[in-house]
Amino acid sequence: MTQKPKEQRIETEVLIIGAGVTGAGIMRDLALRGVQSLLIDRKDLCAGASGGNHGLLHSGSRYISSDLHSAIECREESTILKHVASQCIEETGGLFVAVEGDDPGFAENFAALCQPAGIACDQISCADAKKLEPLLSDRLFKAYRVPDATIDPFRLALLNVAHAQMLNNSSFRPHTEILLFTVKDGKIESATCRDNRTNTTLTIYAKQYINAGGAWAMNIAQLAGCKDVSLLYSKGTLLVSHDRLTTHVINRLRPPGDGDILVPGGTVSVLGTTSIRVDDLETVKPTVAEIDINVREGAAMIPTLAAARYIRAFSGVRPLLQSAGGSDDREATRGFALLDHSTQNLSNFSTITGGKLTTYRLMAEKTCDLVAERLNNSEPCQTHITPLPDEESCKWTEPGASPKYWYKANDPEDMILCECEMVPQSAIDEIVKDAPGAEKEMTLKAIALRSRAGKGPCQGSFCGIRIASYLYDQGHYHDTTGLIHMRDFFNERFKGTRTVTWGLQAAQMELAEALHCGLLGLDNINDD
């Protein structure tokens, strides 16, 4: 006799579907206006494009040739974010560089193009550019400085959620997937969801429903019967190098193309991207061909990229608004769209999609303006003036930060579990206890998302074992769950390494596989 699982019923003022930076930003924006919300994601924070990009806080100059409106938005938003979310941002500055073979006309006009967008853009000599970035190619013929910066989307999303949770009883539920909406009298009455970890269903009742599904926004809108969201998907693939190669963001001075941006990400550099139209969101992953293109193109700017040690690759999908045309999706508008679905006869459902990381705050603001109005809430947006407060459990995603905390604390009992990125036990304790989305038997993947664990050269192959055994020690796991989490974590990391495993990384992989499969037998464990 099995007990019928009790149907879980949750009530909330606003349900936000999709925990990318936009969803997280909406959650906080609403909370600042006094509105309570529940944020759900079928996976976890930043599982889509929010986590699958360069981490570049655009000055706007990237878009001046294709999309002046977006360029201006970027300039304005990046300026705001540098003030209100400075802990997530490194003001690296950026360079645009042209190398032999690039269009001299485009290179010549660049500063003039930046001017109408109000973007500070200074030409510098090639010699000065080489002084700033010694690894730049000798075949450089033109260089400009722009106020590009980098941003950590994971910390940004975590802090937005943490702040919202602190402000009111807003909350975040990972691995909660929307299955269907129940619509009645021009309103969504409830959303039926599945908890993908426990495989149980739950029904969520809200006054307002916000679709912040990013690339998945069209599918989610369709669940509500809305046919007014039309997206194209452009996949981009990026590579992470073993160490940081430049101090500035380096952009190729030409119309956007493959492998033309190298962004420092704290202790590493991120090279990308490609752009390939895809239809299926579920099978998106880096391919060897994309990697090779990125490396080849990147090496034209920075020759050492041809021989660098890469530790990881990843892909993200840009949701592009259907109105886009042209041959290259990168030339399509990177603007965003907010739909109120009034034409679809729904008065409590809205969709926000398109856009980009740099403009996430503005996207959240516009969405919340609409939703607040619908809730008769007249509080104005505060996110452009209220600094994002720090929260202890969210600080672990910053590259190179955890060793600094650890070193300063100088506690020999606080042992390092991830040796590559130097993540100590105390970080794991804090994440498991307090981080947004923390839960019982939290997966290694979820812990890694909230820290730098597994992000270094061994890509989790050692620390996955150490963290799992630590969690067993702490009574976090009691049965084979930890073993399966460990296996799943390695499989997850492998998605990123499989296309970049050559050179030293092949040695690292041989050692990892010998340990995981040869010794522990993780290729031979029974899930049931």
Binding site: T267, G400, E419, C420, M422, F462, A507, Q508
Partner: protein, 425 residues
């Protein structure tokens, strides 16, 4: 008064510059064999793997100021056990050299200053004339008190001698009688040798202090002295780092040296094999057990297996094969004792003893009553940790045991013998 700060080094960049491609910090697989095999692991909450990762993560400030670089003896064991052959010691040297003089451990700096203060290059500041006097004085005393050595020689500044023999300052400075056994050995084998009144000293704390310019100066003086006397071989006596600092320095600074660098241990072995040193182990009737300590500076960091083998051959000849037991690990895999790198002079006693615990365990596991080692720093450190951890062993020089075996060990030359060995005379 302004507080001097330690300049910040870009470790990642320097590693790329100093280490060979494929064995630089970026080749690290983070497996931890280095840290597992390093006696300095845990000191100041650091270890070699952390050093590498902190360098790669840009923690230049922390690494530039970490006191750990004075606890790492630069013994290169981490490189020895690393599948990728990554060397941490060179960056540790760089970090040491980067500390402002006044912040460096005063004992090491002082020793370097003393080396620079006279033409002797002695870390104890013993001037040439004093050295000449002490040698002469001791020689006269031996000739007088030990009639069988009434013609004993200790040549000084003899041009064209085959061996230019160096001398650790500790003997002429504080235990001059300890020089005598070596002279007797030279006498018995009929060696053509000389001391030099200039640049005679063995030790080089300038290297340990990270003062590259002073290191160069010291070595230049020593090279000039050998060249000037026209000796064929610069013979390093029982002092470990003096060999390394000379050999490494000559290469590092591209000096002209018209002679060979050799170690006394090699010659002990050769003279025994050739029958010139007729030692045997008959004296060891009580089967006193001996082990040997391989000084990093002449084994792992220099000659490797060949000198380790010579050391064992000499030891077995002296004490009997059945009375010899190896420490584990040994030879090139041996642990540094913790007396190297200037640790003994650094004033970091607690750290030094923590470091030395592995050596103590190694010695204790052998159950040996004595440790033989041709290195002064090893000698002092092993004595100290023996006392500290309640060990039951003595430390002896090879020259002492050779003369004991030959029955020519004078009364004043027995400082390091315990009652059991004294009974064997």
């Amino acid at each position: 008064m302004t507080e001097t700060t330690i300049p910040i080094i870009n470790f990642k960049e320097k590693a790329e510059e100093l280490l060979p491609e494929g064995a630089s910090f970026e080749a690290c697989l983070t497996c931890g064999l280095c840290s597992s095999g390093c006696p300095a692991s845990g000191i100041e909450n650091m270890d070699p793997r952390k050093f590498i990762r902190m360098a790669m993560l840009g923690m230049d400030k922390e690494l530039s100021t970490s006191k750990w670089v004075w606890a790492c003896t630069q013994c290169k064991r981490c490189q020895h056990v690393c599948p990728m052959s990554i060397d941490v010691s060179q960056l540790v040297f760089l970090a040491r050299s980067n500390w402002p003089q006044e912040k460096k451990p005063a004992g090491i700096v002082r020793s370097c200053q003393l080396i620079q203060s006279t033409d002797s290059t002695s870390a104890m500041g013993l001037p040439p004339e004093d050295f000449v006097f002490v040698v002469q004085d001791v020689l006269e005393e031996v000739r007088e008190l030990q009639p069988e050595f009434k013609n004993l020689q200790a040549p000084m500044d003899k041009k064209g001698a085959h061996f230019f023999v160096n001398q650790n300052s500790r003997e002429p400075m504080s235990e001059p009688d300890e020089m005598v056994p070596l002279w007797k050995i030279f006498d018995i084998v009929g060696a053509d040798w000389t001391y030099s009144s200039r640049a005679w000293a063995a030790e080089n704390f300038c290297m340990f202090s990270g003062n590259e310019e002073a290191w160069r100066e010291v070595i230049q003086k020593r090279v000039d002295a050998v060249n000037e006397l026209g000796c064929e071989v610069w013979l390093n006596t029982e002092c470990g780092h003096s060999y390394y600092t000379m050999w490494n320095g000559i290469n590092r600074f591209g000096m002209e040296a018209d002679f060979k660098l050799e170690s006394l241990v090699t010659y002990y072995a050769r003279w025994i094999r050739e029958g010139k040193l007729p030692v045997n182990s008959d004296w060891n009737r009580k089967n006193i057990i001996f082990t040997v300590q391989d000084p990093c500076m002449i084994v792992r960091k220099a000659y490797g297996e060949s000198i380790a083998e010579d050391m064992r051959f000499v030891t077995k000849s002296l004490v009997g094969e059945e009375n010899f037991i190896d420490m584990q690990p040994n030879r090139s895999a041996n642990y540094c004792c913790g007396g190297g790198g200037g640790f003994l002079q650094a004033g970091m006693t607690e750290h030094r003893r923590t470091y030395g615990k592995r050596k103590f365990d190694q010695i204790a596991a052998t159950g040996a009553s004595y440790v033989l080692t041709p290195c002064h720093n090893c000698h002092s450190q092993m004595e100290d940790i023996g006392h500290h951890y309640g060990g039951n062993y003595g430390v002896v020089h090879f020259w002492t045991l050779i003369c004991l075996s030959l029955g020519i060990l004078g009364e004043n030359e027995r400082t390091y013998l315990g009652p059991d060995l004294l009974e064997c005379i």
